[in-house]
């Protein structure tokens, strides 16, 4: 009962604000001066969900696969790069500024180039998602590996720990809270990457569905697609947060990253 009450206290205001926003949206959309093709009302969007359910879900699945695979590539490559940069200082000093600079490249303009390079299939989508998610993962893991206090490293040295033992027993666990911070950022931007990838050229996926629906003036379907993309991003964030609670329990009792 008290857990239910705590849940209600936490999420009640969120639900209320969301309900108010939807109501306001419905109100504005119902005004005579608002063109139905510009702004679909929530009821029309709900109708689109009912009419196009299988179409939406099929494309949702396509985009979800792109996002998850892209994220997986970014995690493996990002964490791997961070470990290499941590262990080998010359690489860190050479690569870090370039890594930051690479973030300044607008991914939108890369998408068509990737389509040229990787063809029409899933390749360019994965490349875009991975590219967008690589940076937050790499930078956070690297920061985490380097967050260990010098005194602790000194202690490990005096205990006779090898470089590998220090990495495994101290630096790696210390980097986990940072990794999850990066993963949460990556999870929330990954969906944007998949949409860009699909816009540059695709024959399926929610991003393409939204673009196509816009061209064909199917405004309610466009909105339904956007709602699903948002749900996907929020769900991925929540999943990352849940994994964090399981994998890094000490961070909750401790308050701040060690």
């Amino acid at each position: 009962m008290s857990r239910l009450a705590a849940f209600a206290r936490r999420w009640g205001p969120v639900a209320l604000l969301l309900a108010l926003a939807v109501a306001a949206w419905q109100g504005v959309a119902s005004l005579a001066t608002v063109d139905d093709l510009t702004l679909a009302s929530p009821t029309e969007v709900a109708q689109a969900f009912e009419d196009d359910w299988s179409l939406l879900i099929d494309n949702f699945a396509v985009t979800l696969v792109e996002v998850l695979l892209g994220l997986a590539i970014a995690i493996v490559a990002g964490a791997g790069a961070a470990f290499l940069m941590h262990l080998w200082r010359p690489l860190r000093e050479a690569a870090y500024p370039l890594l930051v600079a690479s973030q300044a490249i607008p991914v939108v303009v890369l998408a068509p180039i990737f389509v040229l390079a990787f063809d029409y299939g899933i390749g360019p989508k994965l490349a875009i998602v991975a590219l967008i998610c690589f940076f937050p993962v790499t930078v956070n893991v690297l920061d985490g590996l380097r967050s260990v206090e010098p005194d602790l490293l000194k202690l490990m040295r005096s205990l006779g720990a090898s470089r590998l033992a220090t990495l495994r027993k101290v630096e790696f666990p210390a980097s986990l809270p940072y990794f999850f911070s990066g993963l949460k950022i990556a999870a929330s931007v990954s969906v944007i990457g998949a949409v860009f990838g699909e816009w540059a050229g695709a024959d399926e996926g929610l991003g393409r569905l939204v673009l196509l629906g816009n061209n064909q003036l199917q405004t309610p379907r466009v909105y339904a697609g956007i709602v699903l993309l948002t749900v996907m991003a929020v769900a991925l964030f929540a999943l990352a947060a849940l994994l964090e609670r399981v994998a890094v329990p000490w961070n909750r009792t401790e308050g701040t990253p060690p």
């Binding site: 006779g160 027993k169 009792t253 401790e254 060690p258």
Partner: protein, 277 residues
């Protein structure tokens, strides 16, 4: 929480007598001067200069000195974490850095417990670093919890332990490294004064059970006199030993009784005079 601190009698873990000798040791540090145009000669700070100190095998030596006098540098030199710029440091007659490191157990000022390991896991870390498998290291760490007044706290997370308890876990970790020489760098500086008092008695008991050559660095003269067989007083930077006092007080020493002991107050006065000279 801190009430019961006796250390029950048991066989010591190991004992190999090893002395520590500092001969004419000098240690300097580069202090990167703020780059200002004109005056940016790299400054050298002399932490320790021509220091001689002989720590006898099995003795508890306290080093007292003002802050910044190079006390911690002294310990890190013995621990093989640093090398002298001039002179020599030898542990059990060996000067080689790696040999010194393998002979000494260094306990830094803060407990530095890993928040993702429970108390037993933290104590076991010392053994794991020497290649003992984690499960076995843990098994070997567990008996110490009862001996050192922490039974039932084996599985406690560091965040759940008081400052004194955390220091005791850190001390167990230091002991489990199985080294002949203990180097304690102001182990109780971060504790409140009541806890510090009981921890000093606890450490005295622990060292009686686990006799080791011990160098204890502190800025607290009373702490030094309660714990040590001998007290070395260091000067302001550059650090030198300016006085060595034999502490001929009976053990076990109880702080509240010592306060009225003329030998104790006499020694305390001599130490303070040497500090302020």
């Amino acid at each position: 929480m801190e009430a019961k601190l006796e250390v029950p009698a048991q066989e010591p873990l190991s004992l190999k007598a090893a002395g520590v000798t500092f001969s004419d040791v000098t240690r300097r540090f580069d202090v990167r001067a703020r780059r200002r145009r004109g005056a940016d000669a790299p400054a050298k700070v002399v932490a320790i200069e021509s220091l001689d100190l002989d720590v006898r095998a099995g003795e508890i030596l306290a080093v007292v000195g003002p802050s910044g006098c190079g006390k911690s540098t002294l310990l890190e030199l013995a621990a093989g974490l640093q090398d002298p710029d001039a002179g020599s440091v030898a542990v059990a007659g060996e000067q080689h850095t790696a040999t010194r490191r393998e002979a000494c157990a260094y306990m830094p000022q803060r407990d530095l417990l890993l928040p993702w390991r429970d108390a037993a896991g933290n104590a076991a870390l010392a053994l794991e670093c020497q290649g003992v498998r984690p499960a076995q290291a843990r098994r070997r760490a567990l008996p110490l919890f009862e001996r050192f007044g922490l039974d039932r706290f084996e599985r406690a997370q560091p965040a759940e332990l008081s400052g004194g308890m955390r220091q005791r876990v850190a001390f167990m970790r230091t002991l489990l490294s199985g080294r002949d020489v203990l180097l304690l760098d102001e182990p109780f500086a971060a504790l409140d004064s009541l806890t510090r008092g009981s921890m000093q008695e606890w450490l005295a008991g622990a060292l009686a059970q686990e006799p080791r050559t011990t160098i204890l660095v502190t800025h607290d003269v009373e702490e030094a006199l309660v714990l040590a067989d001998r007290v070395a007083v260091m000067s302001q930077r550059p650090g030198r030993i300016v006085a060595e006092l034999e502490v001929a007080l009976e053990r076990p020493r109880v702080r509240r009784e010592l306060v009225d002991d003329p030998v104790f107050t006499g020694l305390a006065r001599r130490a303070l005079e040497a500090l302020e000279a």
